[in-house]
């Protein structure tokens, strides 16, 4: 890594050289170094997809071949037909959908904090922000006990509930919604619109950019969520994709092709979403800095 720094260092030039020309000096050296790193970073995904399309004896062969000699889709069909992955997929989508309800609650809270003054607003908002600091692993066991007390273990709602609302999401909505002109809201009130209607017809449409970021992030975190589905649902009918894949290791004798097919099933949809909404995702993550 640091060697690329020295490689890309421009030769000493007189101070009179325009800065612009110097900036263009060695972009290709940087480009090559970055490309090597990027390929190394992305390689495991390519290997995963290639291996999922190989028959088992090829994926276990030594030395490994980079490209499949024979292409097959049998492992994907096996996952869906024999191993119930269709159901896991539906459960995962259900968890994602329930998470979207949390999105609405976060938007509501953001609007409340952004555009209303009420008694206790500051301390409540501060409390919301402090929950950001509390690590999941610390609350894991007590949260399980709480859900168990509520009788929500082994339900899809129980899986989605602990992560339904994130303090960070509330914070983002609030930051964005403060930029909505108060006059617009007041005008609607004078025209006799109810609070619910104002929120649905004015505030939400005006918050479209932040909603887009949040929808994509919610989809990705819901889709990838692993800890809660594992802890809350011991009933196989409620497994999500991630849990099904984690247990695939234990129920199937080593079959790398099958495992890579399962991993692809989990990764490819997210990759598609990522490619389509890339700008939103990168922005959202840059803002959040935390999952």
């Amino acid at each position: 890594m640091s060697s690329t720094e020295t490689l890309a260092r421009p030769a000493v030039t007189p101070a009179a050289t325009p800065a612009r020309r110097r900036r263009r000096r060695h972009p290709w050296v940087t480009g090559v170094a970055l490309s090597v790193g990027a390929l190394a970073t992305a390689f495991p995904f390519a290997w995963m997809i290639v291996s999922a399309l190989k028959p088992r004896r090829e994926s276990m062969a030594y030395p490994p071949h980079l490209l499949p000699q024979q292409l097959t889709l049998q492992y994907f069909t096996q996952l869906v037909r024999q191993l119930d992955f269709g159901r896991y997929l539906l459960n995962t989508l259900a968890v994602v959908l329930i998470s979207m309800v949390g999105l609405l609650l976060m938007a509501m809270a953001g609007y409340g904090f952004a555009k209303f003054t009420f008694r206790g607003k500051e301390p409540i908002f501060f409390l919301v922000l402090t929950t950001m600091m509390i690590p999941v692993q610390v609350t894991m066991i007590p949260t399980y006990l709480i859900l168990n007390g509520l009788g929500l273990t082994n339900t899809l709602v129980g899986i989605a509930l602990p992560t339904l609302v994130s303090a960070f999401g509330v914070f983002l909505f609030r930051q964005f919604m403060t930029t909505i002109p108060t006059e617009v809201i007041e005008a609607a009130r004078i025209d006799g619109a109810g609070e619910g209607r104002i929120f649905a017809r004015i505030v939400l449409p005006m918050s479209r950019p932040i909603l887009a970021v949040q929808v994509v992030l919610t989809f990705i975190t819901g889709w990838n969520s692993f800890l809660w589905p594992l802890v809350i649902a011991s009933d196989q009918n409620l497994y999500t994709l991630s849990v099904g894949i984690a247990l695939l290791n234990q129920q199937v004798a080593t079959n790398p092709s099958l495992q890579m097919a399962a991993a692809s099933l989990m990764v490819v949809p997210v990759l598609v979403v990522f490619v389509v909404f890339q700008r939103h995702i990168v922005q959202g993550f840059a803002l959040s800095g935390l999952k």
Partner: protein
């Protein structure tokens, strides 16, 4: 005229959920850590007994707990500098050009950050495999013998941490890139006119301006590694012989595999205190710095 209840209706649901799953669990953990709650106690509350500080006493005498503590210290010591330095260097390089190609590269670096840990663990488990894994095959091409990545107690921590570093870099790269957008062009122009080399400009102008971003990334990365769980859980289950077990994984095993909720809650409280103290220390340590 607006009803006074409106704002409370708006912020109530989200706030209550955050309290229920953020603040309340800490209190519950504190209370449960003073009892002998286990699977039997879950079914019948009358069997739960208060045990005072016995759980804490046992915890501090538990060799497995200290092993997990040492492993976590190793993960923090190796993981934090690696992630921060690597993502900072990648961000500085990516920032040299705003071309389409560089944006494409940026997204490649970002891929591991958005993929599910379980899939990642399967892929890396396959790459690390000692019989037919690609990593050992590539090493054999340059004459290095087979490496027992996940089965050697000495090496397993490094292998697991490598995957987490690979996964953690993309996100922080993006955060650094966002911060680099905020560096005023005039400063760079001025430094160039003064004849400063690019390396010198980066070191003396850009890095000081990135101070807050570096602090932010460092603090969040430290917290992330103190909670390290995913990779160790899915790649090795904490093995062999507990060599890759982190604190979080130890708590998980005690609480869910062993159903010793009281004991695991005591561990949760200890982890919470450790994270809080280390975070406060980091923030205080930086506050005394000179402001630019």
């Amino acid at each position: 005229m607006r009803p006074r209840a409106t704002p409370y209706v708006l912020v109530g649901p989200a706030t209550l959920l955050l309290l229920a799953f953020g603040v309340l669990p800490i209190l519950v953990a504190g209370a449960v850590s003073l009892t002998d709650l286990d699977a039997a106690g879950l079914g019948d509350v009358s069997r739960v007994r208060g045990v005072g500080l016995a759980n804490y006493a046992e915890l501090f005498g538990d060799a497995a707990f200290w092993q997990a503590m040492r492993n976590t210290a190793f993960y923090v010591a190796v993981g934090v500098p690696s992630v921060v330095v690597v993502s900072l260097v990648i961000a500085l390089l990516l920032n040299r050009s705003q071309s389409r190609f560089f944006r494409f590269l940026r997204s490649l670096y970002f891929l591991p950050a958005i993929t599910g840990i379980v899939a990642i663990a399967l892929v890396w488990g396959y790459l690390y495999n000692t019989q037919f894994g690609l990593v050992n095959y590539l090493l054999s091409l340059v004459g290095l013998g087979p490496v027992p990545w996940l089965s050697s107690p000495g090496l397993v921590k490094v292998s697991v941490a490598l995957v987490a570093i690979w996964r953690g870099t993309g996100l922080n790269t993006v955060i650094f890139l966002a911060a680099l957008q905020g560096v005023p062009k005039e400063y760079l122009e001025a430094a160039a006119l003064d004849g400063a080399s690019r390396l010198r400009t980066t070191w003396s102008v850009v890095l000081p301006l990135l101070r807050f971003a570096i602090l932010f990334v460092t603090v969040t990365t430290v917290i992330a590694w103190l909670q390290f769980f995913d990779e160790a859980f899915v790649l090795t289950k904490g093995g062999p012989l507990g060599a890759s077990t982190s604190i979080s994984l130890f708590l998980f095993q005690q609480g869910f595999a062993g159903a010793r909720f009281g004991y695991a809650s005591a561990g949760s409280v200890v982890l919470f205190v450790v994270i809080a103290v280390i975070t406060v220390l980091q923030l205080r340590g930086r506050r005394s710095d000179v402001e630019y």
